[in-house]
């Protein structure tokens, strides 16, 4: 099982991105970051499977503004 769950932007189903790589079924591309939602079939990208996506996520995730901001 993957360490993180991916949420489908179409139906909201949370699933293991690694176990649902769409490229396994694609006749052309291998190791692309596409994943296929097992609930609705929507194919989208998992930024966690891309170098640029991971780098950007880490960079943006470290922003202090996102960790603070206690509400009310």
């Amino acid at each position: 099982m993957s360490e993180e769950l991916f949420r489908c932007p179409l139906c909201g189903f949370a699933f293991d991105a690694q176990a649902n790589a769409a490229c396994r079924q694609c006749p052309l591309t291998r190791n692309c970051p596409m994943i296929c939602c097992p609930a609705c079939g929507h194919v989208t990208l998992d930024p966690g499977r891309s170098i640029l996506g991971r780098l950007a996520r880490e960079a943006l995730g470290r922003r202090p503004a996102e960790r603070e901001g206690a509400h009310g």
Partner: protein, 657 residues
């Protein structure tokens, strides 16, 4: 409650697990990932957690956070809910972190009460506080804290707001001070039960309530710890209670709990939410409105046109192709290669008319990359904002009239991302008829994101009216063929059932990684194909086959479509990838070799053109080679037929942008 006011310090005992519990779609997984440092891609529609996941809390590394499946209410019914009950009974729980939807306070507080009666220390995160506020719901957390004696923290998990305060609350969670009075018969049964239940990690009263309500997981847990005789005695007491109450104990218990939750919510609400009154919900309703949904869609397309067409294809391409590649890189590299290359053939292969650099790399990076990057960004906004399901609803209305209703709409919408993958998505359709129709329409008239970006970019270089004409023609063909095919291939229809999440403002922290991931995927897939296609053209040119092909295709390309003979090259490489072909036409347009009318005809033809190699292979795999060949045999003449007829029409009316 006897444990009122007792704080559970983290170092107190060996219990080091905090269970994250909440209803479906309240942002549990987002909060889990925020608190544990594991980030998921957050789109607009919060989903359900289907597996129990755990991880250390970043700010409290000695504590494990357990992400349980979403629960509707206690007693548990579904497998997911039973997993939550199981976690409560079997995990070494230090506390419960309940995630609640601030918009639905009474529903949230019902679960708060059910959890509070289990006697474990508890913290309540009132999530989606921004959406609640947008709907006019003003909650007084201090009031709730005072009444429940637990920490109540408003959060906006997707933005990470309120997390510092939440981590602080989790460091020393307090046990709730709730003592609800049930009907006398229930209270009497509870008193008896408390003495006969085995030791449990939960308070005996709470366990007794779950048992009286018939929670199957609790029954199983007790069955494993009590003798059959004791179990039978408990069951007999429950039946007796049912007789006394004249209804199932669960009904009486839940009614009491619900009344308490509603009263508590009324006291804590400073302002009652106006039902669907925020701008997001107003826009959400507008987007699927039978009448206003259409201008809303047109507005979105217009924004897409300005951003992708004018900014991406105009400003960015102008700078990259004209300035960087055209004036700086290409002259310098051509000069340098010519100087060091020992063979003229090698020079030609690298920097000639069909050179790997001057054509393959330049097309991929200077022409296509800026366009698809802006398109991917815009598509990400649509995806994360929750517009895609609404687009499916809007399309469904049109498709229903054509006999193409139902789930078949989804692959059409998703094809705008990647047609190859959308073809794969047709598997979700239940009937062979729907799968066949959806595949045909995808192959014929649904441009993928890259192609759509290039088409928008090229047409934006002409005028808005050119873009609208293109859209109307392609949509007209799509609907006409769909209508005809639906009548030729009769069968049952499957209705579209899709939940509509609220519209949300996409978060940059999700949008940027997603867009960059798409760009990376595109470059990995496209650059090798562009280089392969260029090498193929180069070889055909050197062998003298390309000039022959151009000559052979001249009656069709020049005579029928009214395009320059060189457009044959672009159409030829369009077989490899339609966006590669479009890039060739883009280069011709930039060089002033195509008039606006010719660009429009070329774009219509190429959009309806035979699908790329990847799509064709996928169709063959999913529907069989015969279907794939039959579709190609239909699509190819149709694309040229419509393109040629449109050329005649433009000539006839003397269209000018």
């Amino acid at each position: 409650m006897d444990c009122c006011g007792n704080n559970s310090k983290l170092s107190a005992n060996g219990r080091n697990v905090i269970a994250l519990i909440g209803h479906h779609n309240v942002g549990k997984s987002v909060l889990f990932n925020r608190l544990t440092g594991r980030r998921v891609t957050v789109s607009n529609y919060p989903g359900t957690t289907v597996e129990v996941t755990r991880g250390p809390i970043t700010g409290l590394p000695e504590v494990l956070l357990l992400d349980t499946p979403g629960i509707l209410t206690f007693p548990s019914h579904t497998e997911d809910e039973r997993a939550t009950s199981q976690a409560l009974l079997e995990e070494p729980l230090r506390a419960i972190l309940q995630v609640g939807d601030a918009k639905n306070l009474s529903r949230t507080l019902l679960l708060t009460l059910q959890l509070a009666e289990l006697g474990l220390p508890q913290v309540l995160a009132l999530n989606m506080a921004d959406e609640a506020e947008a709907r006019g719901v003003r909650i007084d957390p201090a009031q709730l804290q005072a009444e429940l004696a637990i920490r109540v923290v408003p959060t906006i998990a997707v933005r990470g707001q309120g997390l510092a305060e939440l981590e602080g609350a989790l460091a020393s969670p307090a046990a709730p001070a709730v003592q609800l009075k049930y009907p006398r018969a229930v209270e009497a049964a509870l008193c008896e039960l408390e003495g006969s239940l085995p030791g449990a990690p939960l308070k005996a009263r709470g366990l007794g309530l779950l048992w009286l309500c018939g929670d199957p997981q609790v029954e199983q847990w007790l069955g494993a710890r009590l003798s059959p005789g004791d179990c039978a005695a408990l069951a007999a007491r429950r039946r007796e209670l049912e007789t006394e109450l004249g209804e199932a104990p669960a009904a009486a218990i839940q009614r009491t709990q619900l009344a308490w939750a509603e009263q508590m919510a009324a006291r804590a609400l400073k302002a009652q939410g106006r039902q669907a009154s925020g701008p997001a919900s107003w826009l959400g309703r507008l987007a699927v409105h039978r009448l206003w949904g259409i201008p809303a869609l047109l507005g979105i397309l217009a924004a897409l046109y300005v951003f992708v067409g004018l900014f991406g294809a105009g400003t960015l391409v102008g700078w990259l192709e004209g300035n960087l590649f055209g004036e700086l890189l290409n002259p310098w590299i051509t000069q340098w290669v010519s100087r060091i290359s020992p063979l003229p053939l090698l020079t030609d292969l690298l920097v000639g008319q069909y050179g790997l650099w001057t054509m393959g790399i330049t097309y991929a990076f200077a022409l296509i990359l800026p366009i698809v990057s802006t398109f991917f960004l815009a598509f990400g906004v649509l995806e994360d904002s929750g517009y895609l399901p609404r687009l499916a609803v809007m399309s469904n209305r049109v498709f229903t009239r054509l006999g193409l209703n139902g789930k078949a709409v989804l692959p059409m919408v998703l094809g705008l991302g990647c047609v190859t993958m959308a073809t794969l998505t047709t598997r979700i359709l239940e009937s062979r008829r729907e799968r066949l129709l959806a595949t045909l329409l995808l192959a014929l008239a649904v441009p993928c994101s890259a192609q759509l970006g290039v088409v928008l970019g090229m047409l934006a270089g002409i005028s808005l009216s050119a873009t609208l004409i293109w859209a109307l023609v392609v949509l007209g063909v799509l609907l006409s063929v769909g209508w005809l095919a639906a009548r030729l291939v009769p069968g049952d229809r499957t209705p579209l059932v899709i939940e509509l999440p609220p519209l949300r403002m996409p978060a940059l922290s999700n949008l940027i990684p997603k867009t960059l991931a798409r760009v990376e995927w595109y470059l990995k897939e496209v650059v090798p194909l562009f280089l392969l296609g260029t090498a193929l053209l180069f070889t055909l040119d050197k062998l003298g086959v390309l000039p022959w092909l151009i000559r052979v295709g001249e009656p069709l390309v020049t005579g029928w479509l009214g395009l320059p003979a060189q457009a044959s090259t672009a159409l030829l490489i369009g077989f490899l990838r339609r966006d590669f072909g479009a890039a060739g036409l883009f280069a011709m347009q930039s060089a002033g070799m195509l008039s606006p009318a010719q660009v429009l005809v070329a774009m219509i033809t190429l959009t309806l053109f035979i699908p790329c190699i990847a799509v064709s292979t996928m169709i063959a795999r999913e529907r069989g080679w015969r279907t794939s060949v039959a579709m190609a045999a239909l699509v190819f003449p149709l694309a040229f037929g419509v393109g040629g007829l449109f050329n005649r029409l433009l000539l006839l009316v003397g269209w000018a942008p």
